[in-house]
């Protein structure tokens, strides 16, 4: 169990607890984690980060300086902060007794997953600027990404932008303006570069 700062989504479990749970193959099942959306989002992110960082560690061990563990720690801390439910973002309704919303945390996870789905890309931070609680108000999205240089940077960034916009159009009713992508880390596949 945890103090409030470490508590993911009011579940009573910390990032370290979730990491252990993932390592155990989510067995035995813990209902307080399995019924909590922020814990589930964190587990999905841990899985993706672990996949790419394992690959980087394996490659870097042979070809370049090792991946900085504090970088992974800072990334996971950022993810934990951003996956908190946050504000309720409304969907349009015609019935005054009905309220339909999606959480800001769910949207940020959507953006993060869309970015991570591009091969060689890992999203660092993600923010949605603008008043998301007002239907029709324009919002902008800002992402930082780490990349493995498998394609030109501009091409990777544009693919991230396209996928993020597509997911936001599908699952939200936000008026999405600019999607700003900043590349903060570049990893090179040296062996492939040389061949």
């Amino acid at each position: 169990m945890t103090n409030d700062d470490d508590d993911i989504g009011g579940s009573g479990y910390s990032l370290a607890d979730l990491s252990d749970y993932l390592d155990r193959g989510r067995q035995p099942a813990i209902p307080a984690i399995d019924s909590n959306p922020e814990c589930q989002a964190m587990l999905a992110s841990l899985d993706r980060v672990a996949g790419l960082s394992r690959e980087l560690v394996a490659r870097d061990a042979a070809e370049a300086p090792p991946v900085d563990e504090s970088w992974v720690g800072a990334l996971l801390s950022t993810i934990g902060r951003e996956l908190r439910a946050g504000r309720d973002i409304p969907f349009a309704v015609s019935d005054p007794d009905t309220r339909l919303t999606i959480t800001e945390g769910a949207v940020r996870e959507l953006v993060r997953a869309a970015g991570d789905s591009v091969e060689g890309v890992l999203v660092g931070s993600c923010s949605i600027e603008g008043d998301v609680t007002v239907p029709g108000a324009e919002v902008t999205v800002a992402l930082t990404i780490s990349i493995v240089l498998s394609a030109p940077v501009t091409q990777l960034a544009q693919t991230v932008r396209d996928r993020v916009r597509s997911e936001l159009l599908k699952h939200t009713e936000l008026q999405v303006g600019a999607i700003d992508v900043t590349v903060t880390d570049v990893h090179l596949w040296l062996a492939e570069e040389d061949s």
């Binding site: 579940s11 909590n36 959306p37 589930q40 999905a44 349009a92 009905t98 309220r99 999606i102 959480t103």
Partner: protein, 96 residues
């Protein structure tokens, strides 16, 4: 109210596009033992002077559309409730 909440849990789980039902309020997960035994509904149902207030928290499949799924859930809940009710459907995750 607990009986209605259990029934609504089942109704919501049957809606196309819904992949997970989450606890509508963290307070609902206070008793892990009760949750494990399936005794704690995840939908929140409260009684007010004006009728019922119902809150549902769902996970939507990535292939579905969150706004459409939320509307389907709201329609299904309203059809299952007799009398006036304020319904809040919150999409808490979208995942494949």
């Amino acid at each position: 109210m607990s009986e209605l909440a259990v029934r609504l849990d089942a109704v919501v789980r049957e809606v196309p596009g819904v992949v997970t039902l989450f606890a509508a309020s963290p307070a609902l997960v206070q008793s892990v033992r009760a949750l494990t035994a399936g005794e704690t509904p995840l939908t929140e149902v409260r009684t007010t002077d004006d009728g019922l207030t119902i809150t549902v928290s769902i996970g939507v499949h990535a292939d579905a559309q969150a706004p459409v799924t939320a509307r389907l859930v709201s329609d299904a809940v309203r059809a299952a409730v007799n009398g006036p009710a304020e319904i809040h459907v919150r999409v808490s995750r979208v995942a494949g």
